[in-house]
Symmetry: C2
Subunit: 343 residues, 2 copies
Amino acid sequence: MIHEAGRNPTIQEVARLAGVSQSTVSRVINGSPRVSATARAAVEQVIARVEYVPNNSARNLAQRHSDTVAVVIPDPANRLFGDPFFASLLGGITAGLTDNDLQLVLLRPLSQRDDERAQAYLRGGHVEGAIFVGLVIGDTRPRRLFDRGVPVVVVGSAPDPAISNVDCDNREGARLATAHLVECGRLKIATITGALEGVSAQERLAGYRDALAAGGLEVDPRLEVPGDYDPELAVEAAKLILQREPDIDGLFVASDTMAAAALRVIQDSGRRVPEDVSIVGFDDSAVARMTRPLLTTVAQPTEAMGREAANLLAGLIGAGGGAPRHVVFAPALVVRETSAARL
Amino acid sequence: MIHEAGRNPTIQEVARLAGVSQSTVSRVINGSPRVSATARAAVEQVIARVEYVPNNSARNLAQRHSDTVAVVIPDPANRLFGDPFFASLLGGITAGLTDNDLQLVLLRPLSQRDDERAQAYLRGGHVEGAIFVGLVIGDTRPRRLFDRGVPVVVVGSAPDPAISNVDCDNREGARLATAHLVECGRLKIATITGALEGVSAQERLAGYRDALAAGGLEVDPRLEVPGDYDPELAVEAAKLILQREPDIDGLFVASDTMAAAALRVIQDSGRRVPEDVSIVGFDDSAVARMTRPLLTTVAQPTEAMGREAANLLAGLIGAGGGAPRHVVFAPALVVRETSAARL
DNA sequence: GTGAAAGCGCTAACAG
DNA sequence: CTGTTAGCGCTTTCAC
């Protein structure tokens, strides 16, 4: 679109008005020291008067860079956008990007067509790098992009050793949660998993099993109910568990939102929490402080993870590549009220 | 950055390899019908082989448009990013934008410097339009941008008749909520407001007063406690109310997250909800289904609002301006368990 | 310190 | 249907 009203002045006009050359204007815009004080003053005056703003496309074209990075969220199931985890993560990313003078473009391919467009966009030289969130196992997009020379970092498990990532130790977090349940004297501990197409959910499941084994408890597939990070589905999962194994006394749920949903189902079944069934969630999002009783959960530094992802990417961009880095944050158990020792 | 590995082929090279001119390549890229089948085939073949992807900056420069719009969130308090309302809204915006083949760049100026950068970015001809969210009363940024010829739509109250907006009837929503409390026979109804620097919170407060007046109840400033859409602050607000007016029997809270927090405080004080104190929230976000008892609230079609904002903006961009449009969605009372008739 | 000039990669008339 | 030719607005050598 060309907007009559908004016809922006160009560097040429500024130069003419200031009685200097384009080059000089360009120099003052870019803060070059090789400009006389008088010239600088004249140019700045004109810039202010005509409200000149450089055209980004032209600048990017000439400089061959854009100072923008993409955040890619393949979220067909619309899971991520509903979860406080994501909001918090995105908050951290935006903050970190801003600190590095990088712009953020949000890509959220919903359809096949969207995805093609997104890929083309990423490769179109329009971004300096990309952050992937919510990846599913086997997704080769980060790697393909990386192979084209675009710096990439993924939040979550690295799909490839060459790809930098920032993650939380999901397995350890789940182990912490489940071990806590074991320590509470719980003997039949079930779990509602996250979306198992993703590594994080797999890891949390593994951590759950680790703790069970370490506690001398049997690992029983019947106690493992697949969830999807979707609270609605968690309701069904909880009902299923209760029906199949009415005598469970412990439950580890792979996210707080799902845990909150499961908590309700269990309470509605007439069981007391934490006395009859103890529950531990994951994330320590705001909802953990909204349930009754308050949710025991595993905290992960979501916002910090987002910030770190941004910083990592900024580093990669600045270094023009360099060795991949893998940073993993430590989870921490937060004991609240949904877990207690068996009497 | 120039990435050696990623040195993208240009349209020139494709043309040479395919034995045609740049123009022809450009035509097939842009889907022009004026290309022979053979030429098209040859070009497409080469494009696929060398993995050619057009450079966006060059294209934008030549076409003088970018197909991207900005979503601006002046969120110094970090309120919005924590609220499910925002996540849902953003989900709607991204979906709507995608439908219109528009890219989204997220601008979240946190500091003065960020803000200057953001303004420059917006005026730099890099975006086709902008959506503002979470505006504070008196913010002239949308108008200033609009005056430069950039299409603008704000989510929330229109800061100016010339600016298009999409909103929910906040006043009516709050009236609905409070009238419901009145109908429940509640006689001393307090409120925890949102951030009063924003219009939405002001409107919700007005709606609360409307309903009180209509119900023959006194409007008492002592029953109006300022909040900030922040659950932490809501805890303090609730405590303050209880201390100041121990005999309240109804409470309207301007957001679900705050309501959930207030609910806890009230329960912890030994009061029964809904019997002693009935509570109504606002938003009908996921947290309303996580509290115990379930939260009675006012639903606003958050995702649809986001979608509409995107569509509105797309229309404005396509029409090259045109008359401003103001679309307001109707709120709806959702009665759950935190409200009940007085016995 | 400053200007002239040559592109950056692509689109868009304009001929043919 | 296709090629030629100008730019789009800015950065960047390279002389002066």
